[in-house]
Subunit: 369 residues, 2 copies
C-alpha cells in the first residue's frame, strides 16, 4: 500500500499507513503491523526503563471495571460521554476504563495502611478505551489506545512534591530519548481535579500540537473519596497524597513522524526506529550478492545490531523507495559492481548522503560507541 490513503488528514497518519505500520479496522481502531509493533515496543521499553529508574513498580490493572466504583467519585457522570458501558450476563453494569485513578486508589486503599509502606509509585502500560465522538488523525485520537499511567502515593504534600519532580524529570528524559522536541506548559487539571498540572507538548508543523504527556498533583481528591488512608507515626489516620502521570504511548510514534519526515517518508530517530539498519541487496538473483547479504545480516545481528534484510525479489528502485518511506536511519546498499570491488554503500536516511565502505569494515563502522 504505497498510495496516499484518502481519509488521512495529517502526515503521520498517511505515512504510517503507507509505510505499513498500521491498518484501520474500523473508525478509531487500528492494528499494528510488525513494523509498527516493533517501533511501539521500543517506545514502551524506553518508558519502562525511565519509570523503573525512578523507583516506580510496574503493575497491570483491569480494563473491565464495575460502574459502582466510578459512582463513588462521581466520574461516571463526568466521563459519561466517552465511557464505554455494557451490562454483563448477570445484569451488572460494567465499563471499560478510560483511565485508572479509581481502580488504583481502591487497590492501594486495600493494601496500604501504614506510613511505613509510603511512598510508593506504581505504573502500568495498558490499553484504554474511549467512545470518541470523532476519531481522527489515525492513532492520535482513537477509541482504543495505549497509555502509560503512573500514580504516586505519599504521606504528605512534601512527598508529592518530590515524587512529582522525579516523574517530571523522567518525562523529560523519555521525550528526549524518543527524539522529540517537547515543551512543557502549565495546564488546567480538568476532569482529573486536584492542583498543579503540566502538559508535555510537541509542536507539530501542521498546527495540530500533539499532547503526549500530562502530570497532575491530585492531592487527596481520590484518596478521600475512596478511603485510601494510612496511620502516621503517632497512630493518626491521614489521607494519602496522590499524583498521576500519563503518557500516550502510541502518540509518541505519531509525534516523532510529525516532526521528522521529508517528501520521501519517515526519518526515525535511531532510538525508536522499527529497525536501525536496513540491508538492501539490489539483486537477490545474483547468488554471490545474496549470500554476502545474508551473511552480513547474520553477523550484524550476532553483533547486537538492530537490522533487517530486505531480501524481496524486487527492483532496486522499489527497495530504495520503501526503505526511505519506512525510514530506517541507516541503509546498507549491496550492489554488484561495488561488491566486486569489495565495497558496500552506507547511506544515512536523514541526510541522504552515502559513502563507499570496505565490506570488512561495515560492522565496526555501525557499532555504537
Amino acid at each position: 500500500m504505497r498510495e496516499d490513503p484518502q481519509d488521512a488528514e495529517i502526515i503521520s497518519h498517511k505515512l504510517m499507513l503507507r509505510g505499513g505500520f498500521i491498518r484501520k479496522l474500523t473508525a478509531g481502531t487500528y492494528s499494528y503491523l510488525p513494523l509498527g509493533f516493533k517501533a511501539l515496543s521500543k517506545v514502551r521499553d524506553i518508558i519502562t526503563e525511565e519509570m523503573v529508574r525512578e523507583g516506580a513498580q510496574e503493575v497491570l490493572l483491569p480494563a473491565l471495571q464495575p460502574i459502582e466504583l466510578w459512582k463513588k467519585t462521581g466520574r461516571d457522570e463526568e466521563l459519561a460521554d466517552v465511557m464505554i458501558k455494557f451490562k454483563d450476563r448477570h445484569g451488572k453494569i460494567m465499563c471499560l476504563g478510560p483511565t485508572h485513578e479509581e481502580v488504583i486508589t481502591s487497590l492501594v486503599a486495600g493494601n496500604i495502611s501504614s506510613y511505613r509502606s509510603l511512598p510508593v509509585t506504581l505504573f502500568q502500560i495498558q490499553t484504554k478505551f474511549r467512545d470518541e465522538i470523532r476519531p481522527r488523525f489515525g492513532i492520535i485520537r482513537s477509541c482504543e489506545f495505549i497509555m502509560k499511567d503512573a500514580y504516586s502515593f505519599d504521606a504528605d504534600e512534601k512527598g508529592l512534591e518530590k515524587n512529582y519532580k522525579k516523574m517530571y524529570e523522567a518525562y523529560c528524559r523519555i521525550f528526549k530519548r524518543c527524539g522529540l522536541p517537547y515543551k512543557v506548559v502549565g495546564a488546567d487539571p480538568g476532569f482529573m481535579g486536584g492542583g498543579q498540572s503540566h502538559e508535555f507538548i510537541v509542536p507539530a508543523k501542521g498546527g495540530e500540537d500533539i499532547e503526549l504527556g500530562h502530570t497532575f498533583k491530585l492531592g487527596v481528591k481520590y484518596s478521600k473519596t475512596l478511603g485510601a488512608t494510612y496511620l502516621d507515626k503517632s497512630g493518626t489516620s491521614r489521607e494519602i497524597v496522590m499524583g498521576c502521570y500519563g503518557i500516550g504511548v502510541n502518540r509518541i510514534l505519531a509525534a516523532a513522524i510529525e516532526v521528522s519526515h521529508d517528501k520521501d517518508g519517515i526519518i526515525w530517530p535511531r532510538s525508536i526506529a522499527p529497525y536501525e539498519i536496513a540491508i538492501l541487496p539490489l539483486n537477490v538473483g545474483n547468488e554471490r550478492l545474496k549470500k554476502f547479504s545474508e551473511e552480513l545480516y547474520g553477523k550484524m545481528s550476532g553483533a547486537g545490531l538492530d537490522v533487517i534484510l530486505d531480501d524481496r525479489p524486487e527492483r532496486a528502485g522499489v527497495k530504495f523507495k520503501d526503505a526511505d518511506l519506512i525510514g530506517f536511519p541507516i541503509q546498507v546498499i549491496i550492489g554488484e559492481k561495488n561488491l566486486e570491488k569489495g565495497k558496500v554503500e552506507l547511506k544515512t536516511r536523514k541526510t541522504k548522503k552515502s559513502e563507499l565502505v570496505d565490506k570488512s569494515e561495515i560492522i565496526i563502522r555501525l557499532l555504537p560507541g
Copy 2:
C-alpha cells in the same frame, strides 16, 4: 494479606492472593501487583522468544471490533453467550474480541495477494474479554485475560503442516522452559472449526487439569469466508491455508503454582520466578548488616542477577515466612553472627536446605554457567 482468602477454591488462587501477586477488582477481573506482573512478564518474554525463533512476527490487533465482521463467519451467534457487546455513540454495535481469527484474516486479506508473500506467521500478546457465566479459579477462568495468539498463513496444506509442526515444537519448548510437566492430547476443534487440533494440558493435583495451549489446523474456513486469497505462480486465485495457536499467558502462572508448591507457599522455577534471588537481612536496625546487604544487592544487580532486597524493618520470622510464601528460588540470609564470621546463609526454597557461604564467594556461586 497473609490470611487464606475465603473465596479461593484452588491452591494457585489462594497463594497468588496471599503472596501479593494479584488482587480481585470484581468477579472475574484481577489487578496484577508488582510481583505478579514481574512473573507475568517473564512468561511473556519466553513466549515471545520462542515465537520469534520460529520466524513469527509480532503484531497488535484491536480489542474493539465491529460486529459486522463476526456476522460474516456466523460466529457472532456461536459466541453470543460469552461475547461482550455494546452500542457506540453513533449506534454502531461493537464487541470486545474474545479471539481474533476474524480480524487477522481480514487484515491478511487486505495485505497479501501473491504467493510470494507466503508463508507468514503473525502473533500477538493481547488482552481478551469474555462474559463468563461463572468466573472462578482466580486468573484461570476470568473475564479479562492475556492470550498469546498466533496465526499461520500458507499457500497449501503442505505448508500448514510444516508451520503447525514448528508451532507445536515452540509450544513444547515454552512449557518446558516455564517448568511445566505438560502433556499433549488430540482435541475437538469446537467453535474454531477446521481440522486437526491439539491441547497442551498440565495435570493438576486437585483434579482440575489446566488447559494452557491449543493449536488448530483451520484450513480455509476463515480465508474462504473473509476472502483471504492469493494468486499462485500460474495466476490462479487460491484460498490461504491457515493455522491458529493460542496460549493462556496468565494461566501459565497459575499452572506453575498448582504443580509446584508446599505447605509454606510457592516454589517457582527460576525461569518465571518474580525474582530468582531474595536477600533477607535479618536485622536492618544493625547498620553494618544493612550496609552490607545493600552493597550486596547493588553488586548482584550489577552482575546481572535477578535479585530483590527485603529491607523492611520486619522480624526475621516474618521475612522467612514471606520469602517462602512468595517462593523466590534462592534466599540469601544475612544474619549478625554469620556476618561477623564473614559468612552468609544460602538457602534453596525447594529443598529448604541451606549452607554457609563465604561472603566474598556468594556472587560467583549464584552466577549461571
